[in-house]
């Protein structure tokens, strides 16, 4: 029933938007995309997801990782930590088929699971999933036990081993807490796109797509419908928000 109401509301809003649209040329409409108002909570009407086309992801290209570091301020700030200890919100993975020698490259980060194991194991409720499917760490109540890091099948989370300074205002992070990809939640809340996706597209690689998996008209949903998309470790039944093509 709730679902019906939401669907009706979406259809109504769709019609309203069409009525408010501006015709630039015959058949071309210009819509003003309205971000969710700042005072409104995220809802399950959306489920944010990402699609990565591994056929377009180049071996050796690190643009998404660099963009994430710049946006969220990780990487250069941990000067005392060893390489294994340093934060890693997103990393490039190279897969080589030993039989054929075929090489593939893909970015790997928090997969924003529908049923996240990190949330299951968290003893304080710090590891949490927002209504719109974004998996986050509430560092206010994280005790740094790192159960979530062990539970994550994607090795997507990092623990901060040293005191930090000079954090970004939109990405608080500090000693003794666990962190991971936030799907650039501060951007998404302002109707933006994650920094990695933006950078990948801006540099012309076009290997990453971001959008609403619940909206059948979003580009990501259309692409998934047409071409399909694999989950990494689909056998775990986590229904990940990040999907891959060409694996």
């Amino acid at each position: 029933m709730k679902q019906d109401t939401d669907m009706n509301r979406r259809r109504f809003l769709g019609q309203a938007a069409a009525a408010a649209g501006l015709a630039v040329a015959p058949g071309v409409m210009l819509y003003e995309v309205q971000a969710r108002p700042a005072g409104e909570a995220a809802t399950s009407k959306q489920r944010w997801g990402m699609l990565i086309d591994t056929t377009k992801c180049e071996v050796g290209c690190n643009d998404c990782v660099t963009a994430c570091k710049t946006e969220n301020g990780w990487g250069a700030s941990e000067t005392k930590s060893s390489t294994e200890q340093q934060a890693q919100w997103i990393r490039k993975v190279k897969l080589t088929d030993k039989q054929t020698g075929h090489v593939q490259s893909l970015p790997l980060m928090c997969q924003h699971c529908e049923t996240p194991p990190c949330v299951d194991v968290c003893p304080t409720g710090a590891s949490m999933k927002r209504a719109d499917g974004i998996v986050l760490v509430d560092k206010h109540i994280c005790i740094g036990c790192r159960y979530c890091m062990m539970a994550c099948p994607y090795k997507a989370r990092s623990f901060i081993h040293e005191s930090l300074s000079g954090q970004k205002a939109h990405a608080p992070r500090g000693l003794g807490t666990v962190e991971s990809c936030t799907l650039c939640v501060h951007r998404v809340d302002k109707d933006g796109t994650p920094a990695c996706v933006e950078s990948c597209n801006a540099k012309g690689h076009k290997a990453m797509y971001f959008g609403d998996l619940n909206d059948p008209n979003s580009e990501i949903s259309k692409r998934l419908k047409e071409f399909g998309g694999q989950q990494i470790r689909a056998d775990l039944g986590l229904n990940t928000g990040v999907r891959y093509q060409g694996l």
Binding site: A41, M128, A131, D132, L164, A169, K190
Partner: protein, 138 residues
């Protein structure tokens, strides 16, 4: 009589000493009071007395709304507190949380209440530069 005079003299000396002591204590107390830096802009989001008493409740409430529900109103946001209360001074620079002239530490040092907000959160507006090069943190 002599006995009484001696005692009165002692009493006067003691009273005098007492006045001197209390005077010096008062002047010391005035020195110890926090010097709270003035904020940018005219009016805070709440009245000063309400803020002094309840600011911790406001930001506690806001942090849950923002992080867990995605509500990003600016009224009680810590980021906005910092934008106004640690805005660049005339020299274009700002203080660190580890320094006494940072708005938050000016009072928290005086009240001996340790806060850990800035272990993770930025203690300055995004674009502002620190006045000193000393390493931040506690």
């Amino acid at each position: 009589m002599v006995y009484l005079q001696r005692h009165i003299r002692k009493l006067v000396t003691l009273v005098g000493l007492g006045i001197l002591l209390s005077l010096s204590l008062t002047s010391q107390a005035a020195d110890l009071k926090p010097v709270i830096p003035t904020a940018k802009g005219g009016q805070c989001v709440e009245k000063t007395d309400v803020m002094r008493k309840n600011h911790m409740e406001f930001i506690l409430h806001q942090r849950n709304d923002t992080l867990r529900r995605g509500i990003r109103t600016s009224k009680h946001s810590l980021k906005e507190c910092i934008e106004c209360h640690n805005a660049p001074a005339n020299d274009g620079k700002v203080a660190r949380i580890s320094e006494k002239d940072h708005f938050c530490s000016s009072c928290h040092t005086f009240a001996a209440v340790k806060i850990d907000c800035f272990e993770c959160h930025a203690d300055k507006p995004e674009a502002a530069q620190y006045r000193t090069s000393a390493k931040g943190g506690h």
